[in-house]
């Protein structure tokens, strides 16, 4: 292809490792590590999805007997809830967009041959995998997995006698989180150094694709947030096993006085949410970056307001550290503090709105190609708006207090953090699959997958808002016997049926993924006619990404429909036309 003859100078070519183990298992290649993260997240998402299905079944048929599990008891329901949340947040939403696609495409998009520290990169993955295995092992120990929710509030999480699963299971849970933190910190270190120090010649910061900006800011958030969660976890482990009283007050648990005094459960909540709120952005920022990229590529237009997008990402990252208190309005907080957190939270609406309007501005007047990655990107914008609009409601203590422990919040965060981020992962998969595996995914299956998932997730999570406003509590294992919620049973049945259909639709995706690896149509080097650096190299990229050459960058990443250009897109490495826009 003509795009291949980019300006380049010779550089040393690395010998690719030989042998299966060095090449695919203990690989130092960021592309292999990215795929390892991706497939780790793929197995995790199915575990998490299966757990959520069990919860939905239990909610409408509380006495149903599940094969192998029997009847789900209230404590089992809480176990399902805890592990669903933990696995989804850590091992799917944090792992796939950043560890998976970030690892694979950040070095290529900035024109580097690998991450800055390949050995550290490999270690990050293996520590994360170890954390995942420790997390799963909690299911199989005496007492089973913990039931303290993904937020792990003490004293429930800190007192082993507080319930089944709070013994060894909870220790494994905390250990797994601590391991995950270590892996995430090492990974963040790599991302930051790579972005700052390894960009190709001409790849200024303001010429980076927005995907790279998003990965970069996400890494900074991870670097500052995961250390705090790690510390909080260490204190929790000490409270659980060494008799200290950081979090546990003098309290009666299960009829027994605990051997602690003076600790504060609120201390955990502050530390946890100081991590927990940036974590929301760690999950969603990569999807935002990707969405910006795709809307531009498939509208054949430059992104609307590139600089505004960059500053909005930075503003969201900064404000994300100042709003953790809005998770704790219910926990007891001075009204003045709550007011400050409330104001800061609503302030995040400003950069979020900037991004949303810029996405719409990008679509406006574009020659839109409705390929599957584009559908998922538009779906992301839709979910981001639908889920985000309830944010300013919940940001106000006076509204949050009645809504906080209801299904309203479940609906809110699943739309904006869960499904929106998952849509980002789907969009990334459909968009980059040709580059990663050299073949195209089946477009017809992809479109079916999109429509079923898009409509399905709305059917699941929109009604939850109404159920919440009607007073349906969250985390309750059973409410069919509550008189005032009787009228909500048909609505909940509808949600569960929608969940069945949506989950079934995911098998279309998995089938498409593996079938297309073997039998998909051969992909060209640049099937989407995009401009960024991953599309100038071979498919799949060679071991050092650019086949012994280093690209030189002349243009910004979104030069579409440039007046006077021979084609409707100008590669970043194309020196012949320098876009008039700059």
């Amino acid at each position: 292809m003509a795009t291949r003859d980019f300006t380049a100078h010779e550089s040393h070519a690395h010998a690719a490792p030989q042998g299966f183990i060095r090449k695919y298992v203990f690989s130092l290649d960021h592309k292999v590590i990215g795929l390892q993260y991706y497939f780790l997240a793929l197995t995790a998402v199915f575990v998490g999805m299966f757990l959520s299905l069990l919860m939905r079944i239990h909610l409408i048929w509380p006495t149903a007997s599940i094969p192998l599990l029997g009847e789900i008891k209230p404590e089992t329901y809480l176990t399902l809830l805890t592990m669903h949340g933990t696995i989804m947040v850590f091992f799917v939403l944090t792992t796939a967009p950043q560890g998976g696609f970030g690892n694979y495409f950040l070095p290529i998009q900035i024109g580097a041959a690998d991450m800055a520290f390949p050995v550290l990169n490999m270690l990050s993955f293996w520590v994360t995998l170890l954390g995942y295995l420790v997390m799963l092992s909690a299911f199989f120990v005496a007492g089973g997995a913990p039931l303290h929710g993904w937020t792990g509030y003490p004293p429930l999480s800190a007192v082993p006698s507080a319930g089944p699963g709070e013994g060894l299971g909870a220790d494994l849970w905390v250990t797994s989180i601590a391991l995950f933190c270590i892996g995430a910190l090492m990974s963040a270190l790599n991302f930051i150094t790579t972005t700052l120090d390894m960009r190709a010649k001409g790849m200024t910061l303001m010429r980076m694709p927005l995907t790279c900006w998003a990965w970069f800011v996400t890494a900074i958030l991870g670097l500052l947030a995961f250390g705090v969660l790690f510390s909080a976890g260490i204190l929790l482990l000490l409270d659980r096993n060494a008799g200290t009283s950081f979090y546990v007050p003098l309290v009666v648990v299960n009829g027994q006085m605990v051997g602690h005094k003076g600790g504060s459960p609120l201390l955990w909540q502050h530390l946890f949410w100081f991590f927990g709120h940036p974590e929301v952005y760690i999950a969603i920022l990569p999807a935002m970056g990707l969405c910006s990229q795709l809307l531009s590529v498939f509208s054949r237009k430059p992104i609307f307001g590139y600089k505004a997008m960059v500053y909005a990402i930075l503003a969201i990252g900064l404000l994300g550290f100042m709003v953790w208190g809005h998770h704790m309005f219910m926990s007891g907080m001075s009204p003045y503090t709550a007011f400050a957190f409330s104001i800061m939270t609503m302030a995040i609406g400003v950069p979020s709105a900037i991004k949303t309007f810029n996405w719409l501005g990008t679509l406006w007047g574009g020659r839109i190609r409705f390929a599957s990655p584009m559908l998922f990107a538009i779906g992301f914008v839709s979910l981001f708006v639908s889920g985000g609009i309830s944010g300013p409601f919940l940001a106000q203590p006076v509204l949050d207090i009645p809504l906080h422990d209801t299904a309203f919040v479940t609906g809110h965060f699943h739309l904006i953090m869960g499904v929106a981020s998952i849509f980002g992962i789907f969009a990334a998969t459909y968009y980059w699959f040709p580059k990663m595996f050299g073949r195209m995914m089946n477009e017809r299956l992809a479109q079916a997958h999109f429509w079923l998932t898009f409509i399905g997730t709305y059917c699941i999570f929109m009604p939850m808002h109404y159920a919440g406003m009607a007073g349906q509590p969250r985390r309750y294992s059973q409410f069919t016997t509550l008189h005032y919620l009787e009228k909500l049973i048909p609505l909940n049945e509808f949600i569960t049926f929608a969940a069945f259909v949506t989950i079934a639709a995911q098998f279309i995706f998995v089938f498409n993924l593996f079938w297309s690896m073997k039998a998909g149509k051969k992909a060209a080097d640049n099937p989407w006619e995009a401009t960024t650096l991953e599309w100038i190299t071979a498919t799949p990229p060679p071991h050092d990404n650019f086949g012994g050459q280093t690209p030189v960058v002349y243009n910004g990443p979104y030069e579409y429909s440039v007046p006077g250009a021979p084609k409707d897109y100008v590669m970043q490495t194309d020196p012949s036309i320098v876009a008039a826009a700059h």
């Binding site: 010779e10 550089s11 040393h12 690395h14 130092l28 900035i110 024109g111 580097a112 041959a113 690998d114 991450m115 800055a116 520290f117 050995v119 963040a188 270190l189 790599n190 150094t193 700052l196 120090d197 390894m198 960009r199 190709a200 010649k201 001409g202 790849m203 200024t204 910061l205 010429r207 500052l224 250390g227 705090v228 510390s231 260490i234 204190l235 000490l238 060494a242 008799g243 200290t244 009283s245 950081f246 003098l250 005094k261 003076g262 600790g263 504060s264 201390l267 530390l271 100081f274 050092d544 280093t550 960058v553 002349y554 007046p563 006077g564 020196p575 036309i577 320098v578 876009a579 008039a580």
Partner: protein, 247 residues
């Protein structure tokens, strides 16, 4: 109707960012790209050093966050009252810890080790420059001493921290005695683990010298470990002051 120019001026030289970097090395011990050898002072060496330093700054900020969170927990926990079940009144369970005097000596040891670390860092850079100038590979045995001294001081500090723990326990302050003593063990332990990591890296650097690894690699290792070591010394002074003056 608007007219667009059919051609636009061509800017041949791209704007140069921080980039222009050669591909990274796959291995930790040289053989880097850029076509050139990985010698002291070469472009590949400068690149590796710059990257390692940047990575170290980032790593240090992550470790700092761990101690920032411990500090915030320390301050919050110190101010918390608890209910005395016998009287039903609110009391404070934070017992001020009398730190073992040994810790003052330890502080001195670590500060001195920071100086020897710096001497070792400069020494190997000089040695490497000398090797390049003379283009001879003769190893200067007397030069390893600053490194060895730093390792010895680091180990002495860690050993004496253990002794200080025993002294503290002898006065009745165990890990769970009071939140104040919990924090003393936690902060000293966490700092000790991080310093132990640096001691292992220095041992590795010493072993690398003995088995004849390229000197440029050792320069990079000692350089960034030096930064880390200074950070550990500053961090210890901070932790010590926190325990001493905010008890």
């Amino acid at each position: 109707m608007a007219t667009f120019p059919t051609t636009v001026p061509v800017d041949v030289e791209p704007i140069t960012g921080r980039g222009g970097a050669a591909p990274p090395s796959r291995r930790s011990d040289g053989g880097d790209g850029n076509g050139g050898p990985f010698d002291y002072g070469s472009a590949a060496f400068e690149l590796r050093l710059r990257r390692a330093r940047l990575g170290m700054i980032v790593a240090i900020s992550a470790i700092a966050m761990i101690f920032v969170s411990f500090t915030s927990a320390y301050v919050v926990r110190q101010g918390l009252p608890t209910i005395d079940p016998r009287t039903g009144t609110l009391v404070h369970d934070w017992l001020p810890v009398r730190l073992p005097p040994l810790l003052l000596l330890n502080t001195l040891v670590l500060l001195v080790s920071s100086v020897t670390m710096e001497l070792s860092r400069r020494q190997i850079a000089r040695e490497a420059a000398g090797t390049v100038a003379a283009s001879a590979q003769h190893a200067n045995r007397s030069q390893i001493s600053w490194l060895a001294l730093t390792i010895a001081l680091g180990l002495a500090f860690l050993g004496a921290q253990l002794v200080a723990w025993r002294e503290l326990a002898a006065t009745g302050f165990y890990l769970a005695t009071s939140p104040s003593s919990s924090f003393v063990y936690l902060l000293t332990g966490m700092h000790g683990i991080h310093l132990l990591g640096a001691v292992f890296v220095l041992l590795f650097a010493g072993a690398a010298a003995i088995v004849g690894k390229p000197i440029a690699t050792r320069v990079v290792i000692l350089d960034v470990t030096g930064w880390y070591w200074h950070f550990m010394a500053i961090l210890w002074v901070y932790v010590f002051c926190l325990m001493k003056f905010a008890r």
